[in-house]
Amino acid sequence: MNYKELERLFMDRRITRRQFLAGATALGAVSLASGVLSQPAYAAPTQGGHLRVAIGHGSTTDSLDPATFENDHTISADYAMNNHIGEVLASGEIIPELAERWDTDDAKTWVVTVRKGVEFHNGKEVTADDVVASFNHHRGDTKSAARSLLEQIDSLETDGKYKVIFKLKAANADFMYIASDYHLAIKPSKNGKINPTDGIGAGPYKLESFEPGERFALKKFENYWKTDRGHFDAVDILSIIDTSARTNSLMTQEVDVMDRVDPKTVDLLKQRPHAKVEEVVGFRHYTFPMRTDTPPFDDNNVRMALKLLIDRKQVLNTVLRGHGRIGNDTPISPSNRFFAKDLEQRTYDPDKAKHYLKKAGAEGLKVNLSAADAAFPGAVDAAVIYKENAAKAGVNINVVREPNDGYWSDVWMKKGWCACYWSGRVTADWMFTTAYAADADWNDTYWKNERFNKLLKEARGVLDPDKRAEMYAEMQSLVRDDGGTVVPMFANYVFATSDKIRHDTLAGNWNLDGMKFTERWWFA
C-alpha cells in the first residue's frame, strides 16, 4: 500500500485516526499525514462543549435499572454512564474495556482479568466482586432481558481481587461479545449486590439527573480511565418522540444530534446549512416470520413460494426510500464477518413460486398476514405491497391490520404469519441463538431443523475462523431455503448531526456509532 491509498482510506473514514497515523509512520510519511490531520475535519478531538441529543425513544415508564433497558433513550445513557467488559469497535471486532484481558483455551472457561486502577463515579475501585455482582443481577429469578443470554453460564466466581472465572455449560467462542451486551453494565457492588437504580457506573459521564421519558443530564467524569475519550463537558440526552419536533430542534440548533431521520425528508434535511446526515449499514432488519408448526406454513414448498413472492427492491424503495439493503432471507447482515457472500440473492419470481405452490398442492393459496407499525415503521405498507406482489401468482394475502398496542404479546409468535423487526446482533451465533435455535425463547418461526441446530452448537466450540465461516455459511443457506422467515431488507441507521460534530469511522453494531457517541464524538 502506498501513502495515497492510505490517505484515501482515512478520508473515507474506513480506518481510524490512530490506524492512519500508524500506517503513515510505517510508510515514513508522517509529515504528509500531519498535514492532513491538521485540516479542520481531521483534527485531534477537542475537549469541552455541551452536547444536546434528541432521541426518538423514551417513555415515562423507563427506569435506571440496566435490566430494563430496552430503548435507545436508556441505552444511549447506559453507554454514557457505564462501561462493560468489552467494547465493540467500528470494525466489528471486540477489545477489552473494563477487562484488561481475557483468556480461554477451550472457549468454555473464560478468565477475565479486570483492569486495575479504574474508578467508579463514587470513587470505589472496580474489582472482580463488582463484575460478579453486576452479572448476577441478570441471572436467576430476574426480570432482566439478558437473563436468557446468561443461562449458558454454569458458574461465575472471583479468583483474587482482579480475576473473574466464567465457566460455561458449553463452549462459546463469541462469549465475550455476549458478556459485553449493553444490559451488562458493570456497577459497584455492596455486600455482593449492586444497587440497580443508583445510576453509578465507571463510564465517561456522571448522572446529574434523570426524568423518565424526558432527559438524562450528564456531566463529565473527571477520573475516567480512558483519557482520550469522553470529550464533552456535559451531555443532555433528550427524549423527543415526534419526528418533526426532533428535526425542527436540529434545524434551529436546539440540539446537536438527532436519531431516526424520517426517510421521507432526509433529502430536504441534507440541504439545511447546519445539518449533516449520516448513514450507516447496520444489523437491523425487518422480517415476516411464519410459524413452521402451523399449516399452511408447515410445508416448505409454501414457505419457498412466499419467499419468492415479495419484490424486495420495491419494498425497500417504498418503505425505506432506499435507505437500506435487500435481504436474502437470512438475518446475517453483509457487515457481519461471517456473511455468506456466495449465497445467491433471492429475487421476485412468480413463475418459480407457482411451481412450488403446485408441488404443495396449494394453488390459489389464501393466507393472513398480520401487521402493525409497531413491528416496524411502514410494516402495514410493506404488507400491502407484498399482497400485490403475491397476487401475480394467484396467492391471496389478506393483510390484517393489528393494533400497535399489545402487538408483541398478542400477535408476534401467536399469529401464523406477521411482521417483525430485529435490531440484529453483532455475531452470527448470537443472532441464530436468539431467534433461530430450536429451544430459543424467541424462535418466532418455531423452526426446528436438526442439521442447523447441530451446526450451531458445534460452531460455538470452533476457534478456527475459516472453519467457522464455512459452518455459518451452511447455516445461512439452511435458514434461507428451509427456515420460516422472510427477510426482505436490512435498514440503515440514518441520523443527523450539527456540522460542528466530529467523529472517526462510525460503528454499525447499534444506532449512533454503536451507541457510544457520547464517548467517541467531539465538537470541532
Partner: protein, 318 residues
C-alpha cells in the same frame, strides 16, 4: 350564601362518590386491556420466566379485586403508591408534571379567555359586519384544523423561519418564570387557537339572543349607546352559558393537550398518562385519571357557582 355553601357541600360529597366509581371503572378498563404491565414493559423481550418474575415482584400475580382494594386502602391513607415501571413514589413522579400541565393551561387560559370574550362581544356589537365575518371565519378555521397542524405552522413560522421562540418546550425545575413564559409561548398560542372559537361563538350567540328581548328594546328606546347596552344590560344576563363554556374549555386545556405535549416535547400529564396506559402502569394511570376527574368536577362546580352568583333569581329561590 348558606344556599351556596350547602350546594358546595352536596356537590363535594357527590364528587367523592364519582371519584370512587371512576377509579373502579379505570381499574376494570385497564384490566380488560390485553396484556399486563410485565408483558407490556418487556415487549418483544418478554419470555415466560421474565414475565413471571416481574409479576411476582410487583404483586401482579394476586387476584384483581385484592389488588384494587389494597390500592384503595393505601389511597385513603394518603399513600399514592409507586409506579410499577420506575419504582418511584407517584407523588414525586407526577408533582412536576401536574405543575407543568397547570402552568400551560393557565397560560393558555390567560390568553384565550379575555381574547375570546372581547372578540365575541365585538362580533355581537358589529353583527353581520365584515369584522364579524372575518373573526368567525378565522376562529372556525383555527378550531377545525387539528392541533398538530396549527402547532407545526406556528413552529415553522416563529421557530424555524424567524427564530423568535424555541421549537420544543424543554423545561426543567430550574427554568425561571420569565423563561417559561417565552418557551411556552407557542404551545399556549396553539391551545388558544383551538379553544378560542368555542368560547367566542358562545359569547356572541348568547348576547345576540338577548338582544331581541323586550328589556333590551326598552334600553334602546331610552337612547342608550349600543356598547353600554351590551356591556351593562346584555352581558350580565348572558354570563351563565358563557361561564359553562369557559369551564369546559379550561378542563380541556388540562386534560386534552397530549398532542400539543408531544409536538412540543413538553413534559406534562397527558404524555405520562399515554405512556402509562400503553405500559399498563396501573397506579400511575389511576392517579392521573383521578386528577383529570377532579379537574372536571371542580370546574363544573365553579361554573355552577358562577352561574348562580350571576343570576339573582337563582340566588333567591322562592
Amino acid at each position: 350564601m348558606a344556599q351556596i355553601a350547602k350546594m358546595v357541600a352536596q356537590r363535594m360529597a357527590l364528587g367523592l362518590f364519582t371519584l370512587f366509581v371512576i377509579s373502579l371503572i379505570i381499574f376494570l378498563a385497564v384490566e380488560f386491556l390485553p396484556g399486563d404491565f410485565a408483558q407490556a414493559v418487556l415487549g418483544q423481550s418478554a419470555t415466560p420466566q421474565n414475565v413471571a418474575a416481574f409479576r411476582h415482584e410487583l404483586g401482579l400475580d394476586q387476584p384483581a379485586y385484592i389488588r384494587y382494594f389494597t390500592w384503595l386502602g393505601d389511597i385513603l391513607h394518603g399513600d399514592l403508591g409507586r409506579s410499577f415501571a420506575s419504582q418511584r413514589p407517584i407523588d414525586t413522579l407526577i408533582a412536576g408534571r401536574v405543575y407543568n400541565t397547570l402552568f400551560l393551561a393557565a397560560y393558555a387560559a390567560i390568553i384565550a379567555v379575555p381574547t375570546a370574550l372581547t372578540f365575541g362581544i365585538l362580533a355581537a356589537l358589529y353583527r353581520n359586519s365584515v369584522f364579524d365575518r372575518l373573526v368567525n371565519i378565522a376562529a372556525l378555521t383555527a378550531v377545525s384544523s387539528p392541533e398538530f397542524l396549527a402547532a407545526y405552522i406556528l413552529i415553522f413560522i416563529f421557530a424555524v423561519h424567524l427564530g423568535w421562540f424555541p421549537p420544543i418546550a424543554r423545561i426543567t425545575e430550574h427554568t425561571s418564570f420569565m423563561d417559561r413564559l417565552e418557551i411556552l409561548f407557542l404551545p399556549a398560542v396553539t391551545l388558544t387557537l383551538v379553544t378560542m372559537a368555542h368560547m367566542m361563538r358562545m359569547t356572541r350567540a348568547a348576547i345576540i339572543n338577548l338582544m331581541a328581548s323586550p328589556y333590551i328594546e326598552m334600553a334602546r328606546l331610552k337612547g342608550l349607546r349600543r356598547g353600554r347596552i351590551i356591556l351593562r344590560h346584555a352581558l350580565p344576563n348572558a354570563l351563565a352559558p358563557i361561564i359553562n363554556v369557559v369551564a369546559i374549555n379550561l378542563a380541556y386545556l388540562i386534560v386534552g393537550v397530549v398532542v400539543v405535549e408531544v409536538v412540543f416535547a413538553y413534559p406534562g400529564l397527558g404524555q405520562l398518562l399515554v405512556d402509562s396506559v400503553s405500559k399498563r402502569d396501573m397506579p400511575v394511570v389511576q392517579i392521573a385519571c383521578l386528577i383529570f376527574a377532579v379537574t372536571y368536577i371542580l370546574l363544573n362546580l365553579l361554573a355552577d357557582i358562577g352561574s348562580i352568583l350571576s343570576n339573582p333569581r337563582l340566588r333567591h329561590p322562592k
